[in-house]
Symmetry: C2
Subunit: 368 residues, 2 copies
């Protein structure tokens, strides 16, 4: 369907929107400026909706233009129109900025804003959010692959600057530009993996496995529940996962397609112990109240992970964006409640495809 | 004024919005879902505007809710309301996402989108754009300092994750998180500045001067036209510029407050030559046609810079975001047209406060 919405707003003195005569002048000015940018602008009707005064126009490319005067002194112009997926917006951002400036000048506006056309319903959805729900528009130009597994919606999207990007449900997950993510998670250069036994929980993109294998570990076991994520990454994120997802068994690694809780419980029964447990699973949930499925899941993973960890071992995980400190302190308070006393360090890195700093934890049992 | 706009959209079969009966059902469904989230929702009127069918409601917090049915099969719900600067949005993003899902389910929608509340006219403007006009919302929580100099609007804004951020006019310029910017510009570790004579054109934030001084140069001359930028950074970007802006003359540096073109011409007359010329001025313009003031300015700077550069010297500059390849190739073609034959290398780095990869050039005369 793509529908584009162009928003331009500015503030004026209260009386400009509430006093009938002043509002008339204001609207005449707005209309005259809008007409310079939209030659087919044609007044349709005006109405009072609650304490908002609305004027509606039709304009170029069958757009609907509404000008809303808020009694508190704000004026918002919205231009909405249907747009084919590969069509250009009605006004580019340079033009929208000029419109903003002209409107503000002509109407003696104060604070003003203008937004590039916001696209709803496009085949290629370019918008994601940061941990704290800030809107971020990506330079995604195509969908490389898309499927829905029993667990999630899996998309590989192509970003002009980040390369291929794995998107799980609505979340940006890992891009070809994100080596820093894997290197910070594994603390490359600070940890020595040579001859070590390692288990990865999750990690379906294969990037962590691939980078760990370069460090000559004794054996890496990866447990990923969603085979379709691996198939997508094996094909479309090869610069991240190399050829390690081509076969599920290698000389010094094995990929088990299963629920990691089940597999860990089997390891516990068998008395299997690891030098490193990597939790490369779902993000730490954002709520600061330790309720709900996701926190339960994280607690469960933490508890069983420490049962398969050598006393000299380390539990390594990513947590959340630095913009969500409540989630980070929640995670740290979970660590303090573990049956095994632990100490931890944290590190952070700016992850290009997240467009924010991400926090990683290294947790180890306190030996007594 | 702050006015918030919440946008939720989804696509339906064409007939759902064009067939009168189907549209009636669709609107009943939309209204019933909206009512679950906005208990005070009250129908006001509906109207046909061009080929768009619009229903208008009032709702909680004196909001105006408009539902637009586009004949091509798109439905857009916009919720707009006045909001005090420190007030919470009417619906948080979790709630908006649920609204999106409920609407899509109830109306048998296909592609759907939801946006966190977009704020126009707030005292603290959190939105900037990438080089290619993508919208990026920053976690800015306060304006630390604001002024307008004869040259530009200068703001220091505080970002929760980037630290203090210098904003010139509408552009994010340098944040406390951006050491990588300066280090890539100067190619730290790859260039040897010890005992060298250097000139910086621009660089008013002081970060480049500060980092260069750590490398024991013989002398650094910085020429910045806007003293007010330096005063702002000296006070609020101290982690970037250290104390180098406290005094304009030091043992091995001098800051000249003047137009760099004028100063360079004086240097040419005096026969002064440098080992490095840094252009830390305005961004490379985005247009791919070498017209207009900014490209003229860049050409001028390039030409006079090479006149004060030793034959063994280097011209170092930042250029543009990788998302704007046309500006980059335009810059490179400018290099080829210089009266002095040159060769160049380029490097790039992800700059946190730009939220994108930025390209830097190192240009040197070809000695014959």
């Amino acid at each position: 369907m793509p529908v584009d919405t162009i928003l331009v707003g500015f503030s004026v003195n209260r009386s400009c929107t509430t006093n009938k005569d002043e509002r008339k002048t204001l609207l005449e000015n707005v209309e005259s400026v809008l007409g310079d940018y939209l030659p087919l602008l044609k007044f349709q009707r005006s109405m009072q909706v609650g304490d908002i005064f609305v004027s509606v126009y039709t304009a170029d490319r069958d757009s609907i233009v509404s000008v809303k005067c808020f009694s508190a002194g704000g004026v918002i112009c919205a231009i909405e129109y249907y747009k084919e997926d590969n069509e250009n917006p009605l006004l580019n951002f340079e033009c929208i900025r000029k419109l903003e400036q002209s409107l503000t000048k002509k109407c003696h506006g104060k604070r003003s804003n203008a937004f590039p056309a916001i696209e709803l319903g496009a085949v290629v959805d370019r918008y994601f959010t940061a941990t704290d729900d800030r809107i971020l528009e990506y330079d995604i130009d195509s969908i490389v692959y898309e499927t829905t597994s029993p667990y999630q919606r899996i998309r590989i999207m192509h970003s002009r600057t980040l390369g291929n990007l794995l998107v799980l449900d609505e979340h940006q997950n890992l891009a070809e530009s994100d080596l820093i993510y894997t290197e910070t998670l594994m603390q490359r250069g600070k940890e020595n993996y040579e001859g070590k036994e390692i288990v990865i929980l999750g990690g379906g993109d294969g990037a962590l496995l691939w980078e760990l294998l370069k460090e000559k570990p004794k054996f890496v076991t990866m447990v990923e529940i969603d085979e379709q994520v691996m198939q997508a990454c094996q094909k479309h994120l090869r610069s991240c996962c190399g050829y390690c997802l081509d076969q599920y068994k290698g000389e010094n690694y094995e990929i088990i397609v299963d629920d990691c809780v089940k597999v860990l419980e089997k390891f516990i029964k068998e008395g299997k112990q690891f030098d490193y447990v990597f939790a490369d699973l779902t993000d730490v949930p954002l709520s600061s109240t330790p309720q709900g499925e996701l926190w339960d899941f994280i607690r469960l993973i933490l508890n069983i992970s420490f049962k398969v960890l050598k006393r000299t071992g380390k539990y390594m995980t990513h947590a959340s964006g630095v913009s969500c400190p409540s989630a980070l302190s929640m995670f740290e308070s979970q660590l303090k409640q573990l049956p095994v006393p632990v100490k931890f360090t944290r590190d952070q890195a700016f992850v290009p495809s997240f467009m924010e700093h991400w926090v990683f934890y290294q947790v180890q049992p306190i030996c007594r």
